[in-house]
């Protein structure tokens, strides 16, 4: 057991830290609290990704031949954590950087790599993923959007929901049924679809927070060239699953740092309001702090396991359960610390501009998005513990 970074990793971290200190836009902290049209916000974030890309900080884990730095998993986590530490703006092309890009690198043709990868890195093209459907949430294998072959094109029809960045995306990694006769998770294919194709409609999906992070996508006779299939035809399940594994393994990465920042702020508020002297709230705050630390340690263990030879396994479900349930408890504790002020969504009296009320509501989605807590426990029960499938 040795948790120290190597000299090389320390150098890498220092380089990242230095660059971030010099380049994180000073107006972001203020700006993120402000209501601004999401297009404007998005353009701002795109500029940020471009700046990161120019300095070599976008997609550090991609192989050098595709424009990355070939960073190790540890180095990659270092970048994620350093960015979270300074509260850097997030990269709007995250879906492309973290999921679609690696999928194309793993499964794509040379032509696809040439066509798409560079623009993912630079943020010139934003990607989304079309996986979930209204009737296929937890039960992804039952999806119904279909692609019928017509000459050298697929003709796609169907609907997708919960598409992050769907309203901003130039391209979509779309999972569709290409063989209607095959068993549920067979006969699926991943297509790369130009969102400007005729027949694509995007509708923002309004969440209970009032925002629309996600979108619904409608496909009506959308023609997609056959060469836009990524991976083998009818092998889309495997392609998509690889992507989801990646999602679960990395989604929690910057979180513990973000949680820590929130905790520090909450502790500050508690001290200022005298609530830090309340023994009951102290217990709840400490419990959250403990959970963050346990999450950090469990994550280090997972990463260590992957580094020492292995791909992300179903243990990703552990991370998912930890960060989502931790955050819900943390936000409830924040509400108790803020007392009657917690409910304020804005106005001069709101603490931190109302972001705690937002965070409380937003956390509610955590145990649903990216695989519900129930699904995660099914995965652990079945794949880790060897119990019979419960669904």
């Amino acid at each position: 057991m040795d948790l120290d970074l190597t000299a090389q990793e320390v150098a890498f971290r220092d380089e990242a830290r230095e660059w971030l200190a010099a380049n994180v836009p000073a107006d972001w902290a203020e700006r993120r609290r402000r209501d601004e049209p999401m297009e404007e916000r998005f353009a701002y974030l795109r500029r940020w990704q471009r700046r990161c890309f120019d300095a070599g900080w976008a997609g550090v884990h991609w192989p050098r031949e595709y424009g990355g730095r070939g960073a190790t998993l540890i180095e990659r986590l270092i970048v994620i954590e350093e960015m979270a530490r300074v509260g850097a703006p997030h990269l709007p092309g995250v879906i492309g950087l973290e999921m679609v890009g690696p999928t194309i690198i793993a499964f794509g043709t040379e032509a696809q790599k040439q066509r798409y990868l560079a623009k993912i890195l630079s943020g010139e093209e934003i990607w989304c993923q079309g996986f979930s459907e209204p009737n296929s949430g937890s039960d992804l294998a039952s999806l119904r959007a279909d692609a019928r072959l017509d000459g050298d094109h697929y003709v796609v029809n169907g609907q997708k929901v919960w598409t992050s960045y769907g309203w901003a995306a130039d391209w979509c990694e779309l999972l569709v049924r290409t063989d209607a006769g095959a068993a549920s998770h067979k006969g699926l294919t991943c297509l790369l679809v130009d969102m400007k194709s005729p027949g694509v409609t995007v509708k923002p999906l309004r969440q209970m927070t009032g925002e629309s992070e996600f979108a619904e996508l409608f496909f009506e006779n959308v023609r997609v060239p056959v060469e836009n299939a990524v991976g083998q035809v009818n092998d889309g399940w495997r392609v998509a699953l690889g992507t989801l594994m990646y999602e679960r393994a990395t989604l929690g990465a910057g979180m513990q740092v973000t949680f820590r920042r929130q905790y520090e702020r909450l502790a500050e508020i508690a001290r200022q309001t005298g609530k830090s002297g309340d023994a009951v709230l102290r217990q709840k705050l400490a419990q959250s702090r403990m959970e963050m630390e346990v999450m950090r340690l469990a994550q280090m263990r997972s990463v260590s396991r992957i580094v020492n030879g292995g791909v992300p396994g179903p243990e990703g479900s552990l991370q998912k359960i930890l960060w989502s349930e931790l955050n819900q408890r943390l936000q409830q504790t924040a509400m108790e610390v803020l007392g009657v002020y917690g409910q304020l969504a804005g106005g001069a009296e709101a603490v931190d501009g109302g972001q705690w009320a937002y965070a409380y509501l937003r956390a509610r989605g955590n145990t649903i998005e990216a695989g519900t807590s129930e699904i995660q426990r099914n995965i652990i029960g079945h794949f880790v513990l060897g119990l019979p499938r419960s669904y």
Partner: protein, 365 residues
């Protein structure tokens, strides 16, 4: 022994359910919540005509003179229908305070629905307990989290040493919005620079009036919260029966079904506790304060937890604006924070049962 509604109370419940189903269907409740002004004057007049605004105010003071259990019955239906606006603030909270403070004339006009009142209680830092208030009858300073001040004609100001009634339009009264997550009842700050007002009670009488109104309002709020839980449960159970995944209605999976069962347990318990709190206050039993704290401590956690489970059962749908659950979830948070959260009321229970041989301590058999 009858721990149940009388025939009259059952009629009241049916009438309220019928009225609200017709006059405040969910789409309308949502529209009002989203409109920025949840106080629907037409609906208000219709409720006043039903006698609801004077339900628990004495006949001698212009009300119907029904009891607090009747009020709880009505509040539960209102909570279920997501009625917003000043009903809780005006006849329930302010009305009780006015009546208890001896301001019978104002109470009567609130009871008739002719005037809308609200209570200005909470101060900087969230202070709200009568003995901790800083404002005196001079009325200088700010009151916060005042419900539906924008709709109110009268402010009933709870000061440390007095209950003072102030016209909203009086000189020296300024107010502004405090946007909260629950948009069915607006919150305001109210700045008072010594406006003219009518002192309804002073000293111990004022403290007693404020105290009485807080207890009654808390019990009524618990009943309203129970109605919300019931609705959240109904929505989730309905969804669990119809939504299919893996070839089954999701309600067949124990993780989902047991979440629904938990919601049912919490709603039943909350209802029993809220009804008893109203009954105990009405009868003036020795354990009334204990009963109120039991109801509020329970409901504060249970409404939120029902919301958590209700949203979770709905999966992604539960997280959308289109689904009705979030309106209840936001109100659950506002209600949890109002008049003492679960931690506060548990501490009050501890004071009553742990430190002294207090009122919650004697078996009642």
């Amino acid at each position: 022994m009858r721990f149940d509604l009388s025939d009259e109370q059952q009629l009241l419940r049916s009438a309220a359910r019928e009225f609200l189903t017709k006059e405040l269907p969910m789409a309308e409740a949502r529209r009002l919540a989203d409109s920025g002004d949840p106080h629907d004057r037409r609906l208000w007049r219709a409720m006043a005509e039903q006698g609801w605004t004077g339900l628990a105010i004495a006949e001698a003071h212009g009300g119907c003179g029904l009891g607090l259990v009747d009020l709880a019955v009505l509040m539960e239906e209102m909570g279920r229908a997501l009625l917003g606006g000043p009903f809780f603030a005006s006849p329930v909270f302010a009305g009780t305070m006015l009546e208890a403070a001896g301001a019978y004339e104002e109470a009567a006009r609130v009871a008739s629905g002719e005037r809308v009142a609200t209570v200005a209680l909470v101060e900087e830092g969230g202070v709200w307990e009568p003995e901790k208030l800083g404002m005196t009858s001079g009325l200088a300073g700010r009151k916060l989290f005042v419900q539906e001040a924008a709709a109110a004609d009268l402010l009933v100001v709870a000061a440390r040493d007095a209950v003072v009634v102030v016209e909203r339009g009086a000189a020296g009264v300024e107010m502004g919005e405090m946007p909260g997550m629950d948009t069915t009842r607006r919150l305001s700050w109210v700045k008072l620079a010594g406006p003219a007002g009518k002192v309804a009670a002073r000293g111990a009488a004022a403290v007693a009036a404020i105290d009485r109104a807080i207890e009654v309002a808390t019990a009524a709020l618990c009943a309203e919260m129970t109605g919300g839980m019931q609705r959240v449960q109904d929505l989730a159970v309905q969804y669990a029966k119809t939504r299919k995944q893996f070839g089954q209605p999701i309600g067949k999976f124990q993780a989902v079904q047991h979440a629904c069962a938990d919601m049912w347990v919490m709603t039943e318990c909350s209802r029993a506790a809220a009804l008893y709190a109203a009954y105990a206050l009405d009868r003036g039993t020795a354990d009334a304060r204990f009963a109120v704290s039991v109801a509020k401590a329970y409901a504060s956690d249970a409404y939120r937890e029902c919301g958590n489970r209700g949203i979770q059962v709905h999966g992604g749908m539960g997280f959308t604006w289109d689904n009705d659950t979030h309106y209840y979830y936001k109100r659950a948070k506002a209600s949890e924070a109002a008049l003492g959260d679960a931690n506060y009321h548990r501490e009050r229970i501890a004071r009553l049962t742990l430190d002294e041989r207090g009122e919650g301590n004697e078996p009642r058999a």
